[in-house]
Amino acid sequence: MSDTGEQELRHLDEMTCLLYLERQLDRARGLEVSAHTQECETCRTLLRALERESRLLTRAMLEENEPLPSRLAQFQEKARRSMQWIWGLAFGLAATGAYALYTGYVQPWQQQLEQAGFGGSNLLNLLIFQSTFWKGWQSMITLLEILALATVGGLGVMFLRRRIRRGSALALVFAGLCAALMVPAPASAMEFRHEERLTIGKDEVIHSDLYAAGGRVRVEGTIEGDLVLAGGDVEVSGHVLGDLISTSGALRVTGHVDGSIRSYAGNLLLKGTVGRNVTVAGGDLNIDHDSKIGGSITSFAGHVSIDGSVGRDVLAMGGQVTITGNVKGSAKIRSGELIIDSSAQVGGPIDFKGDHEPQVSPGAKLASPVHFVKMRHGPDYSNVHYYTWQVIWLAAFILFGLVLFALMPRFAEEAVKSAERYGASAGLGVLVLFGVPIAACIACITVVGLFIGTSTLFVWYASLYFAQVIVGTVVGQWLMGRTSEFWPFVGRMAVGVVIVRLCTTIPHVGGWVKFVAILWGIGAMSLAIYRRFQPVLATGAPSAPAVQPLPPNTTIGGPLPA
């Protein structure tokens, strides 16, 4: 550097003079320069000229030759107004999206389910948590409610942190959480039986809920509570006063169930009576001629055959639906094929959405002709609703990203950085995208792992969306440059998500774009999580010494020459 200037030079070089003036030379060199300039007129003149040049520069730049432009004078008020407008627009869009989602999807479903006999206060509760599948969901909903409460509380603290003291905010959140936790959970008695060949004898009466598991299960006795079954081959010929919940490979019910039957993962053959509803997910459903269902049928099974009597409505989705029995309510069917035999009676309207025209026998007694709508596969680009929904989904993605970035800013930043390691992200993405759901399903087989498996599936499903947000942010950064600040980061995310979403709507290619984006994003998130769990080097570990050519605070400026 200049402070090692050659001693043998007659005059000081300009750099040394400048550094001397700017007080950037070390003490020894500063004294040398000072001594030299006492005797050298030329160098003294140079120093003086440089100093005048500095002053001229400062004066020229400081002079107020230009008033503040009116655009800038009005900027603050405009910015405030524009921000209000943007917030209004954002909330308006979110509200419109929520309303459209409710009226477009939730409400029709709710109406259908209500018609099918699922009375209740809200869709989520009646469809999943209240009575449809598994009573263990009651615990899940409590947990989800707490998580939702914590999320809302966190967002509340984030927005209110400038208005209320941190302690007050935390107290508020914890009070809310405590209140949620204090809600008493319903207590119930239960009994567990696990044998390879399990039989509940005819004379046996279980005075509580029964959890039974085994390769071959026979229930001939009476269960006064609910019966929860897991096994390969199960037959219930006894009397169940509560609900029957089954995850069996094959379930035959020839007895009486006063409550509802909820079966998933296997075939159900019903020959007995059911007081309330039947819900089936997976396998085939056969309602025998002698069977009687007091309530409704909700089926997501492959093949559905209804030969018995159904007291209320039928809601079925699957490959093929055959009605040869008596349905007193309406039927809403969405399947590949619908066959209504001559012996069939349907008391309400029949709505059928499928690939082929329904096969209706002329002898069938129907309250009204079948209303058939041909199913369309793939997006309908000519329909304006398609574009409306694309915009709504886009807004939902951006809002989703915004919330996640606000809740986990560091993780989001790390995930975006990880996404730039393309190979590692893609490789890990393949592993996580396919491996995690398989592992979660395996975990669900055991009773203990059910909660972990289901929770993992939830997280995995949410991460499919977050992955697209991460990829969108990477694309945004390609276009607009990197940033570590929150709102510019969100801006890049929004721009990128728009582009990614546009690409996913391209016919034929869009699906692949989406797949690649999910693969890439999910891999990036996994990589970021993996890095977090990597051990950090000890602080005492030796590192390369830092070289400071001109250490600060060791400089001195000598007295200016006269």
């Binding site: 950037q24 160098c43 000229a49 730049m61």
Partner: protein, 194 residues
């Protein structure tokens, strides 16, 4: 380092940090002229300076929590402004300066002192401002950071992304470029032998 002629409104800063919109207004009115002047010197056009000023104040809202109240607010503000302006200029790829490696090989001879003194005496502030506008982005930026906002060599090094040891070289080279723009005298700017 502090903004010329401005005593720091600590109360307004504290209120603005707490989210008070009126305090923001006060800070904006107080500092916008100085920051606009800074941008006016650093950026090539008036429109660029206006845009940059607005962007800096928008950015400031998100960054204010990072400000350490024990230090000078205006110094911090200038640092934010300098970083922002340099980011814009760098993104536009209008750096006309040579890179550090070239700067390193700059001859360290001094010009004819009396000739330089004469040049300085003859030039007005207006001429210097016009000359600044003709300069390369990095050279102009370096001069603005050092002689307008009084930033330290460390701060300039951080903002420009060069090693601290080269800040002096960058400044000297910028002065040469300024003299060239003022006079068009190549011999003087390049450094004539004594």
């Amino acid at each position: 380092m502090s903004a010329p002629g401005i005593t720091e409104p600590t109360e307004a800063i504290a209120r603005a940090r707490a989210g008070d919109a009126d305090a923001w207004g006060e800070l904006y009115r107080e500092y916008a002229p100085a920051i606009f002047r800074f941008c006016r010197r650093a950026m090539p056009t008036r429109e660029d300076a206006e845009d940059a000023t607005m962007e800096i104040f928008m950015k400031l809202k998100g960054k204010l929590n990072q400000y350490d109240p024990t230090r000078s607010f205006s110094a911090w503000l200038y640092k934010v402004a300098a970083n922002h302006c340099w980011d814009i200029l760098r993104r536009r790829r209008i750096r006309q300066d040579k890179e550090t490696e070239d700067v390193e090989s700059l001859p360290l001879e001094h010009p004819e002192p009396s000739q330089l003194e004469k040049l300085i005496e003859q030039r007005s502030s207006e001429e210097v401002r016009k000359a600044l506008e003709k300069m390369g982005a990095r050279a102009r930026m370096a001069l603005v950071m050092r002689y307008y906002s009084d930033m330290s060599y460390d701060e300039i090094a951080n903002a420009l992304g060069v090693r601290r040891a080269f800040v002096g070289v960058v400044l000297l080279r910028a002065r040469h470029e300024l003299r060239q723009a003022l006079e068009g005298n190549v011999a003087l700017a390049a450094g004539g032998a004594s």
